[in-house]
Symmetry: C2
Subunit: 192 residues, 2 copies
Amino acid sequence: MRVPLELRRAYKLLNHGPTTLVTSAANGRTNVMAAAWTMPIDFEPPKVAVVIAEGTFTRELVEDSGELTLCVPTRAQLDAVYAVGSDSGRDEDKWASSGLRAAPASRVQAPLVEGCVGWLECRVLPESDVQRKYDLFIVEVVAAWVEDSVWKEGGWDFSAGEEYRPIHHLAGGVFFATGERIQAHKPEGAKK
Amino acid sequence: MRVPLELRRAYKLLNHGPTTLVTSAANGRTNVMAAAWTMPIDFEPPKVAVVIAEGTFTRELVEDSGELTLCVPTRAQLDAVYAVGSDSGRDEDKWASSGLRAAPASRVQAPLVEGCVGWLECRVLPESDVQRKYDLFIVEVVAAWVEDSVWKEGGWDFSAGEEYRPIHHLAGGVFFATGERIQAHKPEGAKK
């Protein structure tokens, strides 16, 4: 079940580096694409950097609306993620072709993608210089949601099932699933 | 064994979102810190975005030298990565305290970290506005290296051993190892 996540914890949805789905909406149309190049850049208020290539339909909708969502898909959605990362929404309705389903967001017009495990509703910050030079968008997270069956004690816990694990794109449709959880230990005598 | 990697493939070292080690050198001192907030932003010439917080010793050395390296550590280095991500090199020699060992790089003064599986030598691009506002550094990769025992047919292959897997920080010393390799398939009738 999708439940609200405190904004100060929103960075955790992307901190381990999963591939994301970017949704957008403007002028009566919506789109969804995959983006591996997404990362948190601040905690509170949470901000994220995401690369959205020039010429894409997503870029057009994001520039028109100033909004987007970043959703964390799972290995159950593997083929759909790859498909929406390869084709253009200018030519076809990627919702129909991929089987991904949209649900309304709370603070932005861009929809959330059902079946994901994390969702960030975002507003674009006006940084036209890096947008133009590097296709890099700086966004502020205005609402965050998490799938509660894989979220325990304030963090991811994928022991509920393999199909819930996020995916990490290498290249050409090769992904890695999020793997084993491991706990680091500070050496004895360390300061913290 | 560390072998050179073509620059056009350098993005693959970070595409799956691992936590990195950032090294720096200036004024006769070197430092190493951990950074989860690192991602590729372009293919060729390869560029990367990395967050380096204001006030850190790494920030001082990177601003003085205009150079850094980004190294991809493994689960065998888990505790050391967490330690150098928590302590400051201003107060102690993190090389000595962590047990991480430095090796000379080829194009920059900042050293490579031995025992990692990927290495990017980088020069900072002059983007002082986003550096100041978001602690965000845009760097160009000028040399890349990969551990050949986990690199097959132009991409990662971790079947050689669990200890070689990169790590992905969630928060507070909880990491995920890079997991199972999975291949996406385009639906029949898809364009590519």
